[in-house]
């Protein structure tokens, strides 16, 4: 059975593409056959994060418009055997992507035995975001512990609960998970940042991962290597845990507590 997972957030710049890239690599590393699709029509970026930008010949819209076959457009990852990337189109015509077109591509991927389809949603709540979430079985809502991101995530949760195929058919809706990024345990301990528990309480859904703020996210994107493959990094380990949880494992959260300070550090700052 093919499971369709949308990675979405409402707000831009919170780490949707970074998360899509790392989750799809993580699932492929577990032997799953994965297609990761960039839904950000006009603003292609997943290819850069995945490091395959120079191998893009055909894109998502080309497939839908019949300019090429799906096989021709899928870019096979050079690192992981079972991972494929479908790039977004650079066209400015937002109507190039349609629900029927998306359905056709998903059906073909299902027929080809893919285990997971990861949909990297564009920011916002417009058509692209709607198309990315419409057929989803599950949603990973990426959120920064910051007021505007949390509020936008709640808007997205409202759309997931009403504007998706599962919601319309009354099939129990889309399974929703939160994934916090740019988390700083030190700032949480200082009362300067919303905690995991705060965000979970406000939005009322389960947390599938907490990715600590890490310099490795930028260096990985510079190199075109999804951060999860940079195994020494805490961010990589946190993404690997999130992948395990997606697959059903029950793991404790790591990297969410600030390092303990000694008595003097606590009294006199530091």
């Amino acid at each position: 059975m093919t499971e369709i997972i949308v990675v979405t957030s409402g707000k831009g710049g919170v780490g949707k593409t970074t998360t899509s890239a790392s989750l799809s690599c993580g699932l492929a590393r577990k032997g799953k056959k994965v297609a990761v699709i960039d839904f950000d029509i006009g603003l292609r970026n997943l290819d850069l994060i995945m490091g395959c930008e120079r191998r893009v010949v055909y894109d998502f819209v080309n497939v839908i418009q019949g300019d090429c076959t799906l096989k021709q457009a899928l870019i096979k990852d050079k690192r992981l055997e079972t991972l494929y990337i479908l790039a977004a189109s650079q066209t400015r015509d937002k109507d190039a992507l349609t629900l029927e077109g998306v359905r056709k591509v998903f059906d073909e991927l299902t027929g080809d035995g893919f285990d997971y389809i990861i949909c990297d949603s564009p920011a916002g709540i417009e058509k692209g975001a709607h198309l990315a979430m419409y057929y989803a079985d599950r949603a990973v809502v990426v959120v920064n512990p910051e007021v505007s991101s949390v509020r936008d995530s709640d808007r997205i949760l409202g759309l997931l609960a009403s504007k998706t195929a599962r919601a319309e058919k009354g099939e129990g809706g889309v399974r929703e998970h939160l994934l916090l990024t740019r988390y700083s345990p030190r700032r949480v301990a200082a009362g300067e940042m919303l905690s995991v528990a705060d965000v979970k309480e406000i939005l009322g859904i389960d947390v599938i991962g907490v990715i600590p703020e890490s310099a490795d996210v930028l260096t990985s994107s510079n190199a075109g290597t999804p951060v999860i493959l940079n195994e020494d990094s805490e961010a990589a380990q946190a993404y690997a845990d999130a992948v395990e949880r997606l697959l059903g494992a029950d793991l404790p959260m790591r990297f969410v507590d600030a390092p303990k300070k000694g008595f003097f550090a606590r009294m006199f700052g530091g």
């Binding site: 509020r151 009362g191 406000i202």
Partner: protein, 84 residues
């Protein structure tokens, strides 16, 4: 957190963020799924009420309930206390 911070009066900014989000999220959820005019209706009602009574910005709540195939528009306005 240094020694002086133990005595500071302002609450940590994270708890301010949490409280603000709690209120705005609850407000936005209450109009979600309802007709698009609900947020505007709420704002205009608030403006009218504020001509007569000094109420808080979140004092007006509008909600559409669906029961037995009909819709009920529910309005609730909390007025300030006697000494408020």
């Amino acid at each position: 957190m240094g020694l002086l911070a133990l005595f500071r009066r302002t609450p940590p900014s994270a708890s301010v963020a949490k409280e603000r989000l709690r209120i705005i999220v609850a407000q936005e959820r209450s109009t979600r799924g309802g007709p698009d005019y609900l947020p505007l209706l709420r704002r205009e009602l608030l403006e009218v009420i504020r001509k007569y009574v000094k109420v808080e910005p979140d004092a007006v709540k509008v909600n559409v309930e669906r029961e037995d195939g009909r819709e009920v528009l529910e309005l609730s306005v909390s007025l300030p206390g006697k000494d408020g």
